[in-house]
């Protein structure tokens, strides 16, 4: 079953008088349960594709379906709902809320999705076990290592069971040991729990953990 379909996807930004063509007709299919890495140099359009697939910005033209829902037709409110229910984000800088503990960072994602923050389901318990962060949930981000923060960010991204996990340079701020741990976790989530993952990375070693590597250049997939 196909999870993500993008056809002839374009995105044009206007910066002052200049039009910037960030995506110039991207075609991409990601099957459910697939782990795909997108690689490419800076300015190739990786982040723009990430932002569109995550519902953070609308495409200019083309078709993009996530879990059967067409993003091109979506209003801002629809895209907010998409982020709440269908996609989960993992960022290079972890992006945990600094005033909350690791556990509360996870709970708030459930709360935003309208669920009881204290109810956990068995599948998510399994995810937490895989992430190995059970003992670190009561600490605030400043008391956690980069690897621990990123694993909590992954837990937060998965707490609402998104159809698609989007990871933007998830190991970009980590040392080799923590990078390996995080990538192994992502791979484990994909293999053991069937989580669909799209990961953006500069790092070929990180990309190697994926089932498939897609290369982008100048706003196109090559």
């Amino acid at each position: 079953m196909t999870n993500v379909v993008a056809q002839n996807l374009t995105k044009t930004y206007r910066v002052g008088e200049i039009e910037v063509h960030a995506l110039r007709g991207v075609d991409l299919k990601i099957d459910a349960g697939e782990f795909v890495a997108i690689v490419g140099p800076s300015g190739s359009g990786k982040s723009t594709l990430f932002n569109i697939l995550g519902g953070l910005t609308p495409p200019t033209s083309g078709t993009v379906l996530i879990d059967g829902r067409d993003l091109i037709q979506m209003s801002e409110a629809d895209r907010t709902l998409l982020r709440k229910t269908t996609v989960g984000f993992v960022f290079q800088k972890y992006n945990l809320l600094p005033t909350l503990t690791g556990g509360d960072n996870i709970e708030i994602a459930r709360h935003i999705a309208g669920k009881n923050g204290h109810e956990r389901d068995p599948q998510f318990e399994e995810t937490l076990k895989l992430l190995g962060i059970g003992s670190r949930l009561h600490h605030k981000p400043r008391a956690l290592s980069g690897g621990e923060q990123q694993r909590i960010a992954i837990a937060r991204a998965l707490v609402n069971h998104p159809a698609l996990l989007l990871a933007d340079e998830p190991t970009g701020n980590l040392d080799t040991e923590n990078s390996t741990a995080v990538l192994s976790v992502l791979q484990g989530l994909n293999k053991r729990l069937g989580q669909t993952i799209l990961m953006i990375t500069h790092n070929p070693e990180a990309a190697a953990y994926a089932d498939r590597i897609v290369t982008m250049r100048d706003g196109r997939i090559v």
Partner: protein, 358 residues
């Protein structure tokens, strides 16, 4: 999250709470002083021991500015059930102070007597008797001290407060000094039985149809903020200023909070938080600041009462619990309006730009 956010910036949170507290204190102190002063005036009017008060026809509110012939005192004395009647002559010296000229013996007979704390009651023509509050307010006056109070007086004695006025002089000297020979400002009447008040009042009103004839209870009921238009207007102006302070403080505090939390707002948006959810967080923080600020403001009000008791003794401040809900609503309204612009700004923030913010 709301509590954690407030804890994260304790100085800003405390300053905001304090500023809202000041707003609340400002309102409660003004209302409390207005009521305290009026209540003190009412209490001193009751302290005369009189049952009925007669004032000049032109008198309005609780004013004693107008005069009437002092021969009316004798006329009233002759009326049935009138046990005592005495005239007073009141001269305003400044906005807050006046001297009351009294017939000492008559006034003492009616009120039960001025209780002398220091010195003695007036004997010479330029002797002035003041109460303990007035003495304290004027650099701790002592018997024998001279005082230029519309005239060069000499303090002869200091009496216990609570009877009609804070300053007393001989009525004859007052009438002479202020061109009031044969005139009085008010006539206080004590009856043989207070139960006869309404009947005597009606009879007097019949005899003196143009004069203001009030029972003492009717007269003291005039000492309310509602019957003093400038107090109401002044209170509204101060409430307006206080709300503006609360609005500006919360607006500034929340605006800086939104700027500081740009990235966090981006994170919440990435997690699917709606604009309403983000505004809701800020509003909940604001409500918490306003409620804690209100509680702090109420507490500070006890401090201002103590300070006034030391530095402005003639401005007694009442504690006004009936105003707590009103002042809480005022503080909340000002704070919520102040949080709206920062809240809307946060809600409209672009998620991608917010996430890129360092």
């Amino acid at each position: 999250m709301v509590f954690e956010n407030l804890k994260h910036r304790p100085v800003r949170t405390l300053l905001s709470i304090f500023a809202i507290g000041v707003e609340v204190t400002l309102i409660l102190t003004l209302v409390g002083v207005s009521r305290g002063v009026l209540s003190d005036m009412a209490s001193r009017s009751r302290g005369t021991g009189a049952d009925i008060l007669v004032r000049a026809p032109e008198s309005a509110g609780f004013s004693m500015s107008y005069t009437m012939p002092d021969k009316l005192v004798g006329f009233i004395r002759a009326k049935p059930h009138v046990a005592l009647a005495t005239g007073t002559y009141v001269k305003s010296i400044d906005s807050f102070n006046s001297i009351t000229g009294i017939h000492l013996d008559e006034f003492n007979a009616m009120s039960g007597g001025l209780k002398v704390n220091k010195g003695r009651l007036f004997q010479g023509p330029d002797d002035l008797v003041v109460d303990e509050i007035f003495a304290k307010q004027h650099h701790n006056l002592q018997p024998g001290d001279p005082i230029d109070f519309g005239h060069n007086w000499r303090i002869s004695g200091i009496v216990e407060q609570g009877k009609l006025s804070r300053t007393f002089a001989d009525i004859g000297r007052m009438q002479e000094l202020y061109s009031g020979n044969g005139l009085v400002s008010a006539i206080y009447i004590k009856l043989d039985n207070p139960a006869n008040t309404e009947a005597v009042k009606a009879a007097l009103q019949g005899d003196l149809p143009t004069y203001k004839v009030d029972s003492i209870e009717e007269f003291v009921s005039l000492f309310s903020t509602n019957s003093v238009p400038y107090i109401e207007a002044f209170t509204k102006v101060v409430i307006g200023i206080a709300v503006l302070i609360g609005f500006l403080v919360v607006c500034l505090s929340m605006y800086t909070a939104v700027l500081e939390r740009t990235r966090e707002i981006g994170i919440l948006k990435a997690l699917g938080a709606s604009p309403g959810y983000i505004v809701g967080i800020l509003l909940r923080e604001t409500v918490m600041l306003a409620l804690v600020g209100t509680a702090v403001g109420i507490r500070i009000t006890y401090g201002t009462r103590s300070l006034l008791g030391v530095f402005a003794v003639s401005f007694p401040q009442e504690i006004v619990p009936d105003w707590y809900p009103r002042v809480a609503a005022i503080a909340l309204a000002g704070a919520i309006v102040g949080a709206l612009y920062p809240g809307l700004r946060a809600a409209r923030q672009d998620a991608i730009e917010a996430l890129a913010y360092d």
